[in-house]
């Protein structure tokens, strides 16, 4: 509450490794992003793979991408993972999907079947980027 008469103060935003959440279903995207922010990560969001590429190519700080596979547009999560592997080799990629139980045809750094356990996702994120 603070001292009477003084303005209510909030803490500075926690900063941490940059994570990009790529998901066309806004409620899922917002939930994942919020869970990661509460853990202390800096998170940016993209509604599809094309937006994700735009953020990456414009040098927004990203160390890890969490991307759904099935998304509208000409680029899906698998295509995004391949692009990232070629253009941004230092960026790790976790893929998610509701219609698959595993992914073995593209290099990635983790896969989660939707709906996933948030604690497990965050634990895996920690192993990848700290």
């Amino acid at each position: 509450m603070g001292v009477p008469g003084e303005p209510r103060r909030a803490t500075a935003r926690k900063t941490g490794a940059g994570i990009l959440v790529v998901e066309d279903e806004v409620l899922i995207r917002a939930t994942i992003a919020e869970q990661l922010r509460r853990t202390g990560y800096s998170v940016i969001e993209a509604a599809n793979a094309h937006e994700a590429v735009e953020l990456l190519r414009n040098r927004f700080e990203v160390k890890l991408i969490i991307s759904d596979i099935r998304m509208p547009g000409s680029l899906d999560g698998v295509g995004l993972a391949r692009l990232v592997h070629n253009e941004f080799p230092g960026v790790k990629v976790i893929l998610t999907a509701a219609h698959l139980t595993e992914v073995d045809w593209v290099e990635h750094d983790g896969f989660f079947h939707k709906p996933h356990d948030p604690a497990q996702l965050i634990a895996h994120v920690r192993t990848l980027i700290g």
Binding site: A10, T11, L27, I44, A47
Partner: protein, 150 residues
């Protein structure tokens, strides 16, 4: 209570341009707000229907889909009358609105709104230099730069 704010206001940013949306969201988070993002009005409605606690909606007017900013504002006045909505027609107005919010925010303004403007302008210029895109996007900042604010 450890270093957590007692009450953190939430702003919902609605903008079809991911570079603008992300830049504004980062700025407002640096000002101490919780920020939720939507790429269009339909996404905004979905978030608001979920009872996401939103205090202010900062929305572009022109958006793809069946619902534009005016339609979103009407929906909010009907279903979430306690939520304040700020409509902006240009990137500059969005930046000005974000700066006003930061002035009222819980943390000292982290950097001048001009920094946000310069950053977004560089991002949009870089986009137009590398790929053809909708002229409307590129003109959102340039047209305002050429004309005085009314």
């Amino acid at each position: 209570m450890p270093d957590e704010p007692q009450v953190q206001e939430t702003i919902l940013i609605v903008d079809r341009d991911v570079l603008v949306r992300t830049s504004l969201a980062q700025y407002l988070r640096d000002c101490g707000y919780a920020v939720v993002e939507a790429a269009n009005a339909e996404e905004a409605v979905a978030l608001l229907r979920r009872d996401t606690p939103v205090d202010v909606v900062l929305s572009d007017v022109a958006m793809p889909g069946a619902l534009d900013g005016f339609g979103l504002a009407k929906w909010i006045r009907t279903h979430r009358p306690q939520t304040k909505i700020i409509l902006t027609g240009t990137v500059l107005r969005s930046i000005d609105a974000a700066h006003d919010l930061c002035d009222e925010g819980p943390l000292p303004v982290p950097y001048h709104a001009q920094t946000v403007h310069d950053r977004i302008r560089r991002l949009l210029a870089a986009r137009s230099a590398t790929a053809a895109g909708p002229a409307a996007d590129r003109s959102r900042v340039q047209s305002q730069d050429a004309q005085p604010e009314p």
